[in-house]
């Protein structure tokens, strides 16, 4: 039981770390035009490790969806400091607040399935719901 609990905690920590990194990337890019442009040029880098982003950035439709999501989140951060706080605290709630859940689901429907996306239980699979995290393992 202790080992399983440790694994659960590691999983949650890994997801929280990834969410924090995504939030910081978006917040910094919202404030700096050069970073914003870099991010929009390679939108996979918002959500994936650099090497995973490189391997995963050859699908124009998926990149377009990522670009739309990142653009709207950065615009919202630039307009609303409270939204930046929400993004840091709870990435999914921030996405829902911004009305981007449908775009995220469109992205999920386009992305090939990885074991990481489907391999956890009900609650925890929700943490992975974006499929964005599949390369961040």
């Amino acid at each position: 039981m202790d080992d399983e609990r440790r694994m659960d905690e590691q999983r949650v920590r890994k997801v929280k770390d990834a969410h924090a990194r995504i939030a910081e990337t978006l917040i910094q890019s919202a404030a700096e035009p050069r970073l914003r442009q870099q991010l929009l040029d390679r939108p996979a880098t918002v959500f994936l490790r650099p090497d995973a982003a490189e391997a995963d950035s050859h699908n124009a439709l998926i990149d377009d969806l990522r670009r739309q999501i990142a653009t709207q989140l950065m615009d919202r951060v630039a307009q609303d400091p409270d939204f930046a706080s929400l993004l840091r605290q709870d990435l999914f709630q921030a996405i829902r607040t911004a009305g981007l859940a449908p775009q995220v689901e469109q992205l999920r429907a386009e992305k090939p399935v990885a074991d990481e996306v489907t391999g956890f239980g009900w609650g925890s699979s929700w943490w992975w719901v974006l499929g964005w995290l599949s390369g961040w393992g």
């Binding site: 999920r108 399935v113 391999g119 239980g121 925890s124 929700w126």
Partner: protein, 282 residues
């Protein structure tokens, strides 16, 4: 001229549609467009993740638009959303990702609406025996409760009743106190939800599969949906295996289980689908 342009336009669309239809199914790449419309209407913990995994070469998702959908279910149930508005939501939801297979555990709440709204839709109904279902459901919510957002906790309460609390998995004394109530509500939900789905489904557009037979049912599923068997993913047919066990059913005792089973009216479904387990307590 307009007519000629229209004809050209229609021809281009038809060519595009044919290209989509004939696009080969390749692992690692989802089709761009919907090819068919299948809803899995099995309740939670019956293999909804596995069904999404089996159809992973198509546009298949598990727990699609989870938060938005269970909130809409809750609002409709509370009378805050009209039937018309709910149907509009369901049509909108269907159009967002244009899924081939929507394997969401809460589809069971509105199976009647799906059957009514989408005349071309086909339905996979996966049913699991009430004892292993309840054990699995309790394991999941006790295991992941602490990680759940509030809307998901609320959704769990529609299944396990108002006594469910997210921190119960960490509090053995409180869990023991509340367990009989969770068991009673859970079995009641199991019977109500499964009867509802069975009564709502159009027989000619539905297939019923038992959870314990899901792994061997790929040929039946392929035949039912009308896709080549080799496009289904046998490697993803059992993608979610629970790990931590709480052994809640053993802890609650035979009398409580028997009473809850009888009051909920589980026997009819159990005898019909799981006769071998119908007379045996876990």
């Amino acid at each position: 001229v307009v007519g000629a342009r229209l004809a050209v336009g229609v021809g281009l669309i038809q060519t595009a549609v044919r290209a989509v239809d004939t696009e080969p199914i390749t692992p690692g790449r989802r089709p761009r467009e919907r090819r068919f419309r299948v809803y899995n209407v099995g309740i939670a913990k019956t293999g909804t993740q596995s069904v999404a995994g089996i159809f992973a070469n198509y546009r298949a998702l598990h727990e699609y638009l989870f938060a938005d959908t269970v909130e809409a279910i809750g609002r409709r149930s509370a009378g805050e959303m009209s039937d018309g508005a709910f149907r509009e939501f369901i049509r909108w939801r269907d159009g967002v990702a244009r899924l081939d297979v929507d394997s969401s555990s809460y589809n069971s709440f509105y199976a009647d609406v799906l059957a009514d709204e989408f005349a071309d839709a086909r339905f996979i109904f996966v049913i699991r025996d009430c004892w292993s279902w309840l054990d699995s459901m309790l394991n999941m919510v006790l295991h992941t409760g602490a990680f759940m957002p509030e809307w998901m906790t609320e959704h769990c309460r529609t299944i396990l009743g108002p006594r469910y609390a997210p921190e119960l998995g960490e509090d053995a004394v409180e869990l023991a106190r509340r367990l009989p109530g969770l068991v009673t509500a859970g079995l009641d939900y199991w019977a109500r939800a499964n009867w509802f789905v069975l009564s709502a489904l159009p027989r000619e557009r539905s297939i019923v599969v038992r959870t314990n037979e899901l792994s061997e049912s790929l040929p039946r599923l392929a035949d039912f949906v009308g896709v080549p068997l080799d496009t289904l993913r046998s490697d993803l047919r059992h993608v979610h295996r629970g790990t931590r066990r709480f052994h809640a059913l053993q802890a609650v005792g035979g009398d409580v289980l028997r009473g809850a089973y009888t009051r909920a009216g589980c026997a009819g479904l159990m005898q019909r689908f799981f006769p071998e387990a119908a007379s045996a307590l876990p």
